[in-house]
């Protein structure tokens, strides 16, 4: 009787252990698949790390690139400025250039494919939220969405 009881309990715990391992494994696979298939960030609802004008942002990079890279790159920035130009890239991509204190060095924002560029007109003021990629001739922003 006692031995049977022990065997029963053992069988039960083995069962529970197996089921737990299976659940953990499935969970792991799900998390893995989720991470693997994670799409590029949508910044529509993201909280910005910085809110700055295009004039100040470009000036910061021109004055000290190294410091500005450490401060801004990979950060979410809400940049406000006057639209210099709106240009189509490859596919459905639109690049919006914002005026700065320099005529040669602007802030270029590549809109995410979900963004609607229809409302963007040269000369208008705009606020764009995006991720800063760094500085070439211009300050470059990616995954951008138009805020207003």
């Amino acid at each position: 009787m006692r031995v049977e009881r022990i065997i029963f309990v053992m069988k039960k715990s083995i069962k529970i252990a197996l089921v737990s391992v299976a659940i953990l494994g499935l969970g792991g696979i799900c998390v893995g698949l989720y991470l693997f298939n994670l799409q590029a960030k949508n910044l529509k609802k993201a909280k910005p790390d910085f809110a700055i004008t295009s004039i100040d942002l470009q000036k910061a990079f021109e004055d000290n690139e190294a410091v500005s890279i450490a401060k801004f790159v990979n950060k979410i920035i809400e940049v406000t400025g006057t639209i210099e130009s709106v240009k189509d890239g490859e596919g459905n991509i639109t690049n919006v250039a914002l005026k700065t204190g320099s005529e040669l060095s602007l802030v270029i924002c590549t809109l995410s494919p979900q963004s609607d560029p229809a409302q963007l007109v040269s000369g208008n003021e705009v606020t764009i939220r995006g991720e800063c990629s760094g500085f070439l001739m211009d300050v470059l922003m990616n995954n951008c969405v138009v805020i207003k």
């Binding site: 799409q39 590029a40 990979n74 240009k87 890239g89 490859e90 270029i108 590549t110 470059l140």
Partner: protein, 184 residues
């Protein structure tokens, strides 16, 4: 009078000097890796490039972080493990059109070109020769090219685990829309 002609001469020189250079800051470079396991594509629409039609010199500059992938994890691995974009943020190409005489930049049309130069990726510079096309259009120049690079040539190490999902050779697509350098 003397002064005026001097100004006109100077202005003339300045204008011709300017008309020789074409620029874009919205150029496109993409790459594509295809294996039976997975296709991987990345796009960069923020490539800066200048072409000097008098000498045939071309320069390209791109930020590694401006390459955008469909999947966030791929982009992270690309930046952190393979291209090490914190250490080597830029990729550049400096070269020359070798058959410049075959292109008439004053006449609209399509011309086949060969470009030879130094391609720097991941802080490794290799000599490359690529074929491409130049389209002289009204108000600008379009340039296109497609070529193959081998990540190993640029000391880009792809670990064994993902070796099968990343191709040994990567197809690079270049598409530029140049406008003349404006005299502001």
């Amino acid at each position: 009078m003397k002064r005026l002609s001097f100004i006109i001469l100077l202005l003339g020189l300045f204008l011709t000097a300017n008309a020789q250079k074409y620029i874009t800051k919205n150029g496109y470079i993409g790459f594509f890796s295809s294996t039976p396991v997975e296709n991987i594509k990345a796009d960069n629409n923020q490539v800066a490039s200048v072409i000097d039609i008098s000498t045939g010199e071309v320069v390209f500059q791109a930020l590694i972080k401006s390459f955008k992938f469909e999947k966030a994890l791929m982009e992270e691995h690309f930046n952190e493990n393979y291209l090490e974009s914190e250490k080597f943020p830029k990729s550049t190409f400096k070269g020359k059109i070798t058959n410049l005489t075959a292109v008439d930049f004053n006449k609209q049309g399509h011309y086949d070109v060969t470009v030879e130069g130094d391609l720097t990726i991941h802080d490794v510079t290799n000599k490359v020769t690529v074929k491409g096309g130049v389209d002289v259009i009204s108000g600008g120049i379009d340039a296109n090219s497609k070529f193959i690079i081998v990540p190993e040539d640029f000391k880009i190490n792809i670990p064994g685990v993902v070796r099968n999902s990343i191709a040994k050779t990567i197809e690079v697509t270049v598409a530029m829309k140049y406008a003349p350098v404006e005299n502001k």
